[in-house]
């Protein structure tokens, strides 16, 4: 590509009089990444580095009788050996589930769990050292099927000290709002159905990797591919028994997270502990198989859903019973347990809701948060049943969804505070763009169209650690060079948060983007942000950035007032100048105003922060799913079924998403496209398979994410409801758009071939079998 054919580098975009919000901007780190100049964790090299490797358990559930590391320790080139007893302090992302350790201490809980670790001169030496460690195990009964974990068992068969009533249930929640039984008794239409979803995992490109250096100052620095540097810092301080200020976490460029890098991890503890033992930097880089053992992906689920519709074709009750398989550890699981129920309280009005959620421990790699956390599988079940109701009641699924749409500025029965709601506009937009009225029920046999909606949090209103500290703080420094330095711990993981911060600050200050430089990597310098999870960053860090920038702007307009003699209120900032809005010829260049503002005080500094306002009910679990605002979406899918293989072939997706306001439409569309691609993977082919206790497909050849050849035409439709509390009205766009794609595919398949699919994934062989069964039944009748 020649220079003049390239899209403009963001730095070279013409300065805009009317600001940077709503403009299609390439991400500020896009050029760096495309040129191969972005520094990922494994690009960082320190002098005297060692290779850290972890010995893993071949047993699903076993007591560790003894570990003999003497032969490994005696090897030349081996500098440190670590076992579980060296660091028995438990940790976990949630304060209520501190159930992980750096390495297994007394028992191993899954095939692939770390048992011992070494730091050595090179990988071959490290692997040889691992081979010389002798571990004696006493195997225990393995809990592999979810149902087995519901049993009451003796203490030595419980996977963790804290479980529900002597079982291996990790968390059980029950909620009931409104007259559920009455609604079912008086329903015009109702159905109860069991849905089963196989687990899926993130399949990010960059494998898990970290580099730890416990140096001569007795300070620990950890470079790690992470979404939540702050939680990692906390966990390291706890496990290492160090004050938090001596622990520094640096997040280099991250090659994809999707929720799979949002826990503090055992390998991070291992690298840090090994480094403290040998006083040299230690790198732990996973191969892809180890990444699968680290998992933390979406929970395998068995979800029973009952839906009631009344005579007016309104949803009158929803009853959800979710059993989810958490694997060996807690991780975010308590939250997941709630989300599988409570996030069904939108995007439709729901007057009665009952939920039972159970998350079990099992002897498998841990499950955790993954894009659309906790909401995806129940959403699938709910939207498929809605489609079934519409078919049987003879109503158009779009019109049905519009009638039942959650109103703006309302409250759900479980006391979610709804501010903006664009569900109605989303359904209408997707319906009209797709040509729904000419297609639904009218396409030839084998081709079909379907719709589904979605609803997701835009940040969790209550933080994990409830200590009254704002959830996000952004700090700005403006010095003599005129550049604006932005500090925030909001983790740029490819989603564009650095761009978002720069865009907001530059917009407030009337500057082109290149004035801003974002430092969001380092806990030593950044101001606290809780990290990139629960779709919180644009809303929370964006608001904080805007406040900080407005404080700087105030100083600049005051300086301009000083220099010109006009009142500060008259001035606006645009085009690298401070301009008197009433007399545009009166203007002060940015650098002149800045120098004036810096007189006597030096560099300008300002902070802005965000904390969610109080909200929500008082019932147990009321905080789960509470968000300062919610995103809404409705997708229409058109597909056909391959006449030979019965493979579902997706042709078009019209994806309408209410993002409040698209700060950067290019970035929002990319999030929608990525979500569609990822969600299609789960509905069509992804499957975290087991053979007994062994992960059957721990590699990216056999774990099948969607390939580019299956990616359909995606038509993103941005619905802007301008949220009163969002930065410039913005809400989330990174997770919600994954939700509707799964049920929209299933509903379109029904339109195409008249068969319902209740289990995921919907692979070609299952469609073939269902159609053969249907044809046989038709032939008989």
């Amino acid at each position: 590509m020649s220079d003049h054919e390239s899209p403009a580098h963001p730095h070279d975009l013409p300065r805009q009089r009317h600001g940077l919000i709503g403009r299609r901007l390439p991400l500020v780190d896009a050029w760096r990444k495309a040129a191969g100049q972005a520094t990922y964790c494994d690009d960082i090299r320190l002098p005297n580095e060692l290779v850290g490797k972890i010995l893993r358990s071949p047993h699903a559930h076993a007591r560790i009788v003894s570990i003999d590391t003497s032969a490994a320790e005696a090897m030349p080139g081996v500098h440190a050996v670590l076992v579980g007893r060296d660091a028995p302090i438990p940790f976990g992302v949630l304060p209520v589930s501190q159930d992980e350790t750096a390495l297994a201490v007394d028992k191993v809980l899954y095939v692939g769990e770390g048992v011992a670790a070494v730091a050595a001169d090179d990988e071959a030496t490290a692997l040889e050292a691992l081979a010389r460690i002798r571990v004696e195990y006493e195997p225990l009964r393995a809990f592999l099927a979810m149902e087995d974990s519901l049993e009451e068992v003796p203490e030595d068969l419980r996977l963790h000290a804290r479980t529900v009533k002597g079982t291996n249930i990790h968390k059980q929640v029950e909620q009931c709002f409104g007259p559920v039984d009455e609604a079912f008794a008086g329903a015009r239409w109702s159905k109860r159905q069991v849905f089963k979803m196989i687990g899926v995992t993130h399949a990010f490109t960059e494998p898990i990797v970290c580099l730890a250096w416990y140096n001569a100052d007795e300070r620990l620095t950890l470079w790690s591919a992470q979404q939540v540097p702050h939680y990692v810092q906390r966990a390291l301080a706890k496990v290492m028994e160090m004050p938090m200020h001596r622990v520094r976490v640096i997040r280099p460029t991250v090659g994809g997270g999707f929720g799979g890098k949002s826990d503090p991890f055992p390998h991070e503890m291992v690298a840090a502990l090994l480094s403290r033992k040998c006083k040299r930097p230690v790198r732990v880089l996973f191969d892809r198989e180890e990444v699968f053992y680290n998992n933390h992906g979406r929970h395998p689920s068995r979800i029973e859903v009952a839906l009631a519709i009344d005579d007016d074709h309104r949803i009158s009750a929803l009853d959800v019973d979710a059993l989810i398989d958490g694997g060996a550890w807690g991780s975010f699981g308590v939250v997941t347990t709630y989300y599988n129920g409570v996030l069904a309280n939108g995007p439709y009005k729901l007057p009665a809701f009952r939920y039972r959620g159970r998350r079990v421990y099992s002897n498998k790699p841990p499950c955790g948060a993954m894009r659309g956390h906790g909401a995806v599988n129940t959403r699938y079940a709910y939207e498929v049943l809605l489609d079934e109701a519409c078919r049987e009641l003879g109503e158009d699924p779009c019109e049905f969804r519009i009638r039942n749409a959650l109103d703006p500025h309302s409250k759900t029965i479980n006391e979610f505070r709804i501010t903006t709601s664009g569900i109605r506009q989303c359904v209408e937009a997707a319906r009209d763009a797709s040509g729904w009225r000419d297609k639904w029920g009218k396409l030839p046999e084998g081709r079909g169209i379907g719709i589904a909606g979605g609803f997701y949090i835009s940040g969790s209103a209550l933080p994990i650690h409830w200590d009254g500290i704002p959830q996000s703080t952004v700090h700005l420094k403006v010095d003599i060079d005129g550049g604006v330095t932005i500090h925030s711990l909001a983790a740029e993981i490819g989603q564009g948060s650095d761009t978002m911060l720069a865009q907001i600050v530059a917009d407030v200050l009337g500057l082109p983007l290149h004035y801003c430089r974002v430092f969001s990597e380092d806990t030593d310098t950044a101001t606290l942000d809780l990290g990139s999870y629960s779709s919180r960053v644009t809303f929370m860090a964006g608001n904080a950035a805007r406040k900080a920038a407005e404080a700087v702007r105030q100083r600049l307009v005051e300086a301009a007032a000083d220099l010109t003699g006009y009142p500060a209120e008259f001035f606006v900032m645009e085009d690298e100048q401070v301009v008197n809005a009433t007399m545009p010829e009166i203007r002060v260049p940015w650098l002149d105003a800045l120098k004036r503002a810096m007189r006597d005080v030096g560099a300008l500094q300002a902070s802005g922060s965000y904390q969610s306002p109080p909200m929500g009910g008082k019932h147990k679990g009321a905080a789960a799913g509470l968000s300062p605002t919610y995103s809404f979406q409705a997708f229409v899918v058109e597909l056909s079924v391959d006449p030979l293989t019965c493979k579902p072939v997706i042709h078009d997706v019209w994806a309408a998403h209410d993002c409040g306001r698209a700060l950067n439409p290019l970035a929002v569309e990319a999030q929608i496209e990525g979500s569609v691609h990822m969600g299609l993977g789960q509905v069509l082919c992804e499957s975290f398979d087991y053979n007994g206790a062994a992960v059957l497909n721990p590699n990216l050849l056999d774990y099948r994410t969607l390939s580019p050849t299956e990616t359909p035409r995606i038509h993103p439709i941005l619905v802007e409801t301008i949220d009163p509390e969002g930065p410039y009205g913005a809400k989330e766009c990174g997770e919600g758009p994954l939700l509707p794609i799964l049920p929209a595919v299933a509903n379109a398949l029904y339109d195409a071939v008249g068969v319902r699919f209740y289990d995921l994934p919907i692979t070609a062989d299952r469609v073939f079998r269902a159609l053969s069964r249907k044809r046989r039944a038709e032939a008989r009748s």
Binding site: R56, P58, H59, V111, E123, A124, L127, D287, E289, L644, T645, C685, N691, G692, A694, L696, N697, P698, L701, D702, R704, L706, S707, P708, T709, E710, T763, A764, D765, F768, R769
Partner: protein, 322 residues
Amino acid sequence: MILPTFELHQPRTLDELIATARGLRDAGEAFDYMAGGTDVLPNYKNRLNAKPHVVSLALCEGLDEVRADRIGARATIADIARDPVLAEHWPGLVEAARQVSSPPLRNLGTLGGNLLLDTRCFYFNQSGFWRDAKGNCLKAEGDVCLVVPQEEICYATYSGDMAPMVLVLDATLHLAGPDGERAVRARDFWAFDGITRFHKRPEELLTAVSFPDAARGLRTGYRKLRVRDTIEYPVMGVAMGLEAAGGKVARLELAVTGSEAVPLYYGDLGLGGRTIDAGLGEELDRKLVRTVNAYRNVPFPPSYRKAMAGVFARDLLATLAR
């Protein structure tokens, strides 16, 4: 995962290569030939039957000609996929090449490598850690097959895309080795189970594949079952050659891959001389489904894979008769 240590030999000519092979054989040193490495190296990384020596074809002159009657074993899959002369003569062969894996791997992988592809299985294509935890299978130094539990036969699945069309065309495989050259009919080459796989001594090198004039009357086609439309190995593939005369089957040649431990040639399944119509398609479908086997060791259940063999054969018959 890192590669195990091996000595790499990179001869520049076929003579040098054969001399290297002779030397290693006579010294009792085990070795593998390697062309593109797309099959050998992943298996080596998994410590699957890795050898102390690898003789690379990368720098060796020749062996890469692409002609209608003869293709060098070192011709890449991409060379075959884009060759206009082959597309004219053996469209089914080109069709198969175009469905091999993905563009980057087609650029590396060769015809020889694809034909001699090692068999694949859930229980075999795993790391040393995985196999140790689960128990090693018959093909990976264990005692029992984990697909069909017994100690005699390996049921790993042959997964090359090029072999069935080579069988349909009744091609000849040309081998060279320390003891001289020989040619073997492709239909006689593959045999045995998932470990032994074919009649070839380890030191023999597949140098070329040649196609007989007699194959020219055939119209050819290939259909491949896979989970996604790229990257994947076939989990059922059907190749057909058809010569029709007066609406009847003059010649029908059928072969499958992705079913058992070797690619299988089925001839015309007794349908020669029959009138080509929908009824014949259905009969062919039924016959092939009854004939092919499949085991639960690659994606998709065996029943579906077998059903697809029939569906593909029926579709090919209809397409090639048109």
